[in-house]
């Protein structure tokens, strides 16, 4: 069973080495997508590659956003003939052991796509609001009710990874993936995961402003 972990990274020099070493220790194959980082993310990962063999690094010459990076990572992973593709945030907010939890329903053929849902009770208020809004937006625009539409920890079966079409380039990608699951007639399962909130990971991801930006974009896309 080949599990590929896709790690999109944009300016993550502070956390990427630790995240990667944990993933390497657990024996996963890893695809890092450096999304045009302006810091030392690329050189840090390059150094790790020289020592460890299981890491692939794709570099976006220009910053294209989370959606763009995820698509690159998934396409690069598909070349290597994986059974399961897992997306994993580079900011250190996920527990690597949860990779097995999100992969299990796919290995057991219970679902095509698995999203790791974070516990909203533990979530800091600023994040909770943004994520609740995004869940609502996902419901309104894609007609799917999920507990956590914005989670960065997801698992795809090989079939799902091949079929899902990602067009969104920014954080809207998380909702789009949920929408694609419905469109491609795939099955979705949400499993609870642990989230590690550090001061660092607090500055990233779906806050209120990002949520509003995605909303505006979705409305414009509907008019197009």
């Amino acid at each position: 069973m080949k599990i590929f972990v896709v790690v999109p990274a944009y300016n993550e020099e502070k956390t990427i080495a630790k995240v990667l070493s944990e993933l390497i220790d657990m024996g996963f194959e890893i695809v890092v997508v450096d999304d045009g980082s302006k810091d030392h993310t690329y050189s840090i990962v390059s150094k790790i590659i020289k020592q460890k063999k299981r890491v692939t690094l794709c570099k976006h010459l220009l910053n294209r956003g989370l959606g763009g990076a995820l698509k690159t990572g998934i396409e690069a992973a598909l070349i290597e003939d994986p059974d399961v593709i897992v997306t994993f945030d580079a900011d250190g907010q996920h527990d690597p052991h949860d990779i097995l939890n999100v992969s299990k329903p796919i290995i057991d053929h219970e679902a095509d796509v698995v999203v790791g849902k974070r516990n909203f009770e533990d979530m800091p208020r600023s994040k909770k609001f943004g994520n609740t809004v995004m869940n609502l937006i996902t419901l309104i625009f894609y007609g799917i009710k999920v507990d956590d539409s914005q989670s960065g920890l997801r698992a795809f079966s090989r079939k799902a990874a091949e079929e899902i079409v990602i067009n969104a380039r920014d954080y809207g990608v998380s909702s789009e993936i949920v929408g694609e699951v419905k469109k491609q007639d795939l099955s979705l399962k949400e499993v609870p995961i642990k989230t590690i909130y550090t001061d660092y990971s607090m500055t990233k991801g779906t806050n209120t402003l990002e949520g509003l930006k995605i909303l505006v974009k979705l409305i414009i896309n509907m008019l197009k």
Binding site: G36, V55, K59, H60, R64, K71
Partner: protein
């Protein structure tokens, strides 16, 4: 009696047409866009020359005064062009992302691949 705004509009229109032609000659504008812009600016020049004639259009469409009609038309046209431009930029962004992705995958650095390449070159050059 020619008003100041008429002179300004006519000069502006002529400059814009000239600018469009120069851009077209330099290969920076398509034939379709050139014709569209020339027509738009010719309409603006015509209206500036004969502003009173717009009253017929206003009566015909039910909009109060001639110049109001022109302004509304102008705003609608501007919105249309902004919309077109937005879509075009969006398409370009998408093409750019595809390009960046293709380059990233082609030039990927991989521990696994390096290993493979080393082995193949070892076979070709056993003396190394």
């Amino acid at each position: 009696m020619i008003e100041l705004y008429q002179i300004i509009a006519i000069i502006l229109g002529l400059i814009a047409i000239l600018y469009s032609i120069i851009r077209f000659r330099n290969g920076m504008m398509s034939v379709g866009m050139l014709l569209l812009w020339i027509i738009i600016w010719l309409i603006i020049i015509t209206i500036s020359l004969y502003p009173n004639d717009t009253n017929y259009l206003a009566i015909y469409t039910g909009i109060g005064r001639g110049l109001d009609f022109v302004l509304i038309l102008g705003i609608l046209l501007s919105f249309y062009l902004i919309f077109k431009m937005y879509n075009k930029i969006e398409n370009i962004e998408e093409e750019l992302t595809d390009l960046v992705r293709e380059l990233a995958i082609q030039n990927k650095k991989s521990g696994m691949n390096n290993e493979k390449i080393l082995k193949e070159s070892d076979i070709e050059n056993p003396e190394k």
